[in-house]
């Protein structure tokens, strides 16, 4: 591999935003008249968020922080609150925005969190739902929180199972009942909620998974900076666990390498902390052994770290083909696939629900589950055909721009406003009906 030439290193970090919030803060000391005009004119909304939160290393925590940050950029006069869910015996050095902590397995803690938010300045509560992040059987303690919460709430459902157990089904049905609106990230998720869970269509909406705001950089330029100028780069990133199906891409590598001898597969990311706890690095070690058995040591690389966003974007920009070989057909969202779309990558994926929808209309190639041959053929097709590659990249990028976090934040804010307006209207109607009833009874 070529030595990295630092002088040619590209700056592809996402630029620090010259944001509205900063501009308003600056005005306060410079132009008090304009500052007052903005304060009076701009919509103020006080959201609170309930979920896991960084430094916890999990996809939901990253997602929550992205929503909180991107919404806050449009609401310079608001003070968001985060209620973070964490394990009792772990110490998490949270940012100051985390104002309350729920101990995952302590049921009372969920009621305390609801009481805390009921007494707070929050107008609306955004709850991230995934069965595993809350305590109790299938994470059912979250229902205690929602029952006790007196503020309007919206839930983002990160897992929507087509064949849920009775308890899993009950929990999601209750979440939909107790929240004003539930959000899913793809249309098929909404359809499942209507068909399988009997959800009220008025209470379910679709907002795409956000992606970082990355402008397209030709892969060749970034590869040069990473010292991989001559390699065809294939990559998969995220928290590694058995459900990722990475072994099937590794098994596809000999066929790919036969056709493209410079091909290299990058497996980026550490083992999922939850998985590491009960089986250590067993899965990763199995993958490493498989690489050795196939003699692919020069063609498969692992980076066993939780990558920063900038690192991730750099590797993604250098990627020729991004692969999500996931094994669970029911998977309704994937942050990593969303990110790859955002970076405008040629994508090969198994047809789990999320991939099937977001890669439709020429935005990616779908391959069979657990099929090294199918994976190899699709990757070779892309590497052989620059026009196909460009067309996949352009289509992915166009889709990704609409899903950039700054657009998704507007969708969330729009929803928050709609929910609050609906509540206000319902309250006014109830009050007017009450006063009409009183005057009629006189």
């Amino acid at each position: 591999m070529a030595k990295i030439d630092k002088s040619k290193e590209l700056d592809i970090t996402i630029p620090e935003e010259f944001a509205l919030r900063d501009e308003v803060r600056f005005l306060k000391s410079e132009d008090i008249k304009l500052f007052r005009l903005l304060r009076e004119s701009m919509n103020k909304i006080e959201p609170a968020y309930v979920a896991t939160y960084p430094p916890s290393e999990c996809g939901i925590a990253t997602f929550t922080k992205d929503v909180v940050t991107s919404v806050a950029k449009y609401t310079p006069f608001s003070k968001p609150i985060v209620v973070a869910v964490r394990r009792e015996h772990e110490i998490e050095p949270y940012e100051r925005i985390v104002r309350f902590q729920i101990y995952k397995e302590q049921r009372e803690s969920y009621l305390e969190a609801a009481r805390f938010l009921n007494n707070s300045h929050a107008d609306i509560v955004s709850v991230q739902h995934e069965y595993g992040i809350y305590g109790g059987p299938d994470g059912e303690y979250i229902l205690d929180f929602l029952e006790a919460l007196e503020k309007p709430a919206v839930a983002t459902l990160h897992t929507v199972l087509q064949n849920p157990s009775p308890n899993q089904k009950r929990i999601v049905q209750e979440i939909i009942r107790l929240c004003d609106v539930s959000i899913v990230m793809v249309r098929v998720g909404r359809q499942i909620l209507l068909d399988v869970y009997g959800a009220d269509p008025q209470k379910v909406t679709v907002i795409p998974h956000g992606v970082p705001n990355v402008h397209r950089v030709p892969a060749a330029r970034v590869k040069r900076a990473l010292g991989m100028a001559d390699n065809a780069i294939i990559s998969t990133f995220g928290l590694i666990n058995r459900g990722k199906g990475i072994e099937y891409v590794i098994q596809a590598m000999p066929k790919i390498v036969e056709r493209h001898p410079t091909a290299i597969y990058l497996v980026l990311g550490e083992t999922h902390p939850g998985v590491r706890k009960y089986e250590g690095e067993t899965y990763r070690n199995m993958l490493i052994e498989l690489v050795a058995q196939l003699g692919m040591e020069k063609h498969v690389r692992f980076n066993n770290r939780f990558l920063s966003l900038d690192e991730l974007v750099r590797y993604l920009c250098a990627t020729d083909v991004y692969v999500t070989p996931y094994l669970n057909k029911d998977q309704i969202t994937s942050g990593t696939l969303a990110y790859a779309l955002g970076c405008g990558k040629a994508i090969v994926s198994t047809p789990y629900l999320y991939a099937e929808e977001v890669l439709a209309d020429g935005r990616g190639l779908l391959v069979d589950f657990a099929s090294p041959d199918s994976i190899a053929d699709a990757i070779i097709r892309i590497l052989d055909d620059p026009e196909l590659k460009e067309s996949l990249e352009a289509a992915a990028y166009r889709y990704g721009r609409r899903a950039a976090w700054f657009n998704v934040a507007v969708d969330y804010l729009g929803l928050f406003h709609r929910v609050l307006n609906r509540r206000r209207l319902a309250k006014e109607l109830a009050e007017s009906a009450q006063s009409t009833g009183k005057s009629a009874s006189k």
Binding site: A19, L20, D22, L27, H215, V410
Partner: protein, 120 residues
């Protein structure tokens, strides 16, 4: 294929018209800010910013507009917007900035309105 910001400026007396194309976001808003400053330094006091061909705007773009409004106000001028597409218009509605920046359907309406204000 890289999304960038196209900027076209025309000046007529104390009126500057800035037409933007593409995306006004964290990558491009500083360039837009520079163009606004240059236009004002060349003697314009009123600005019309056309968003008709802007596909997306983020909080950085809004920040740049607020900065522009501050500079224009210091010169006792006005900054008005033209032709925001639905996705862009939604951003102004959601934030409440539509109450701060008048948005006209087309350039001639915006220019007429500025001239009317000046003659009063």
């Amino acid at each position: 294929m890289e999304m960038d910001l196209g900027v076209d400026v025309t000046m007529d007396g104390n009126l500057g018209i800035i037409r933007l194309t593409g995306e006004l976001d964290a990558y491009t808003s500083s360039r837009f800010k520079e163009v606004m400053i240059n236009t004002l330094e060349k003697g314009c006091t009123n600005l019309v910013v056309s968003l008709a061909d802007v596909e997306y705007i983020d909080s950085s773009g809004l920040g740049a507009l607020v900065g522009g409004l501050k500079r224009v106000s210091e010169r006792s001028g006005k900054l008005v917007l033209v032709g925001a597409r639905p996705q862009v218009r939604k951003v102004f509605e959601i934030t409440g900035l539509e109450k701060v920046f008048p948005i006209y359907r087309n350039e001639s309406e915006a220019v007429e309105s500025l001239k009317r204000d000046e003659s009063q």
